[in-house]
Subunit: 389 residues, 2 copies
């Protein structure tokens, strides 16, 4: 059992933001015409209330000061519509969108609303559909016909293979690990499915060489919510006597290097991730070696291996050694990640926060966690560091 | 000449956010297929740079920490796309959407990013097209066939007429005033157009009784930008020696009472506006009587009269007395407002901030200003109070 990490040097009460509640829907590929995407989001909210009686009491007494939706769904006014459905009358209601990193952006906005004292509590609601426009790169004509994200993951993988030690078997190991982790995650698309083998990944349908079908995450309908509060509100929840410790946001980093393929100068590295991680570590005073558990943006198997490096868990080119157990890294995507949970553009980042918080709350071995959310072939990335105390 | 108002009690440097730059495109109804909506946004940014050499220097030296787009345009990733077009590499890039109050919401988010210390400078970019989905209420089945905002403005107007002293001539006075103010606003759709008369409004095409065509704002293509910074960055701009004083955000209030028509319980009053104003006054320690100049959400003539009351400039039912000059109120919509400028969902709130700041900077009689931005038949509203010091 590893030693618990801690950076605690006394809480700065004015800058403290806790993740006090979270809930998800089961990620799925049902026909969304049969029940609305807003109802789907409401299921995730109901899941949060079912998970915590003290949250239910808190909301009944204090309401919620802001609701932020995170989605690529193009319909307008979703935050106010969902607020009305959930019987919330917030001060602030708006939608945040940045394709697949909408979730992290909404969380960063929620953090800011609380630290700036405009709000004491903010509900972030991520939702999207399996056919979301948030997962396509149709707007970038510079990409030519190569607009599907799988094209770009494949280009990254081939560039990486030319330079470093990476075989298709290594990619398959990521898929096998994350699908295995998803088997016990009741929210995951691959919950309770059968175990995947290396051979099955290697022999699955070719998508773009070197990536096969099981190297790619599956687009899903999904919804996820997280309730963030200030210090005094979080402490009142503790006083209900059902929770002794909270998980706090300790570091935030974000970077956008551009939008089009021309902004990517070196395919061996995801620069937006490197920059975002650097800022999040600096803000939290955490080193990569202190992270116990991480949610990284494994939209494709290659992304997880590169994330090990770009988040500083291992040196550049050594990602596969972590997979082979030759280098120690944090536990990554313990719930199955995007490969196991399914990918739902606006819901993914919020699901990462929810399930990272859940892992830290439930596992005594975890104290410091990191989430890593990207968009549009890695042109944007956000890193958020959490700590239980 | 009126006495200048001031609330200044020493700046709280940590909570100070200045509007240091702003720019607009000329609002228009051109065919947007002929040049992209993103290029339109870039024109507003170029206008800001042309307005201030010191802003250009600042951006060259420091970059911009965040870019927030405010739009109902459904295309994803607009903040990163526009950042790339403008050669900005921000930390944070995302879109904020809340129909016609997207602008105020984006400004509130920008304020929070700065006060929470995640950013020193944030560029807000509002843009939309004349056929934006952000100006239709298609999602609210409870409204039956009455989905056009003009239906709801007419229902407000008739409810108001039943209770209070309001004639169609009063409504027409709002249109005449704002169209007159727009004649000298080079960004306004009605810039340099001919003067409108009361008779012309009364005889214009009926839309929904009692509203005629000139009681309604015209949907436009529009773009507007505002650059917000923290205290030390703003002071460095002063040190370029070209500006002595800045305009600061002193108060913020926001309220969402719901989304559908069922959330409106009393048609004589816009409750979200009342609540938002109350919070903005409290935060800024400003009373309604201290406001020198205001941008109110005059999407329809009735909205401006109700805003006089709901913002506390006059008592309920006395809005028309202000129009008749029997009661003194702040100068309202001095640039032409939405009726004179044209309405462009995501651009409108940012244009309000830009032109309110401009009015305060250029006119020695103005020190304290208020902007009021609404969405979806008044179900959401935000109020922001500015002060020059």
């Amino acid at each position: 059992m590893r030693t618990l990490n801690t950076v605690s040097m006394g809480m700065d009460i004015d800058k403290s933001v806790a993740v006090v509640g979270y809930g998800l829907s089961r990620f799925n590929r049902l026909d969304m015409r049969s029940y609305s995407v807003y109802e789907h989001a409401a299921y995730a909210y109901a899941d949060m209330l079912n998970n915590s009686a003290s949250i239910k009491d808190l909301i009944k007494e204090n309401g919620i000061d802001a609701i932020i939706t995170s989605t690529s769904d193009p319909n307008p006014y979703s935050a106010s519509i969902i607020a009305e459905m959930l019987n919330i009358r917030p001060k602030i209601a708006n939608r945040v969108e940045s394709m697949c990193s909408s979730g992290a952006n909404a969380i960063i906005t929620a953090y800011s609303y609380i630290v700036s004292k405009l709000c004491k509590s903010v509900l972030v609601v991520g939702f999207d559909t399996k056919d979301s426009i948030g997962m396509r790169l149709d707007w970038d004509d510079a990409r030519g016909v190569f607009k599907h994200p799988a094209h770009w993951a494949a280009i990254y993988a081939r560039a990486y293979m030319r330079e470093f030690n990476l075989a298709r078997e290594h990619l398959a190991m990521v898929a096998v690990k994350n699908r295995k982790n998803a088997l016990s995650n009741r929210y995951a698309y691959f919950y309770n499915s059968s175990m995947l083998t290396i051979e099955q990944v290697l022999n699955s349908k070719p998508v773009v060489e070197p990536l096969r079908l099981y190297d790619c995450s599956i687009p899903c309908n999904g919804a996820s919510v997280a309730l963030l509060t200030d210090y005094s509100t979080a402490k009142r929840i503790s006083n209900y006597g059902r929770d002794e410790e909270h998980v706090w946001i300790k570091g935030i980093g974000s970077s956008s290097i551009g939008a089009g393929i021309n902004s990517i100068k070196d395919l061996r590295c995801m620069y937006a991730t490197v920059t975002a991680a650097r800022d999040a570590y600096a803000m939290s005073n955490v080193k990569p070696s202190m992270i116990d558990v991480a949610q990284v943006h494994d939209a494709f198997t290659i992304c997880e291996i590169m994330a090990y490096e770009d988040l500083g868990f291992v040196s550049k080119g050594e990602g596969v050694y972590a997979l082979e157990g030759k280098v120690s890294i944090p536990d990554v995507n313990t719930d199955g990640g995007i490969l196991g949970r399914g990918h739902s553009a606006g819901a993914t980042g919020v699901a990462q926060l929810a399930l990272l918080t859940d892992a830290i709350k439930r596992n005594d071995d975890y104290r410091i966690g990191l989430m890593h959310n990207m968009a549009a072939a890695g042109t944007s990335a956000s890193v958020i560091i959490l700590e239980r105390e």
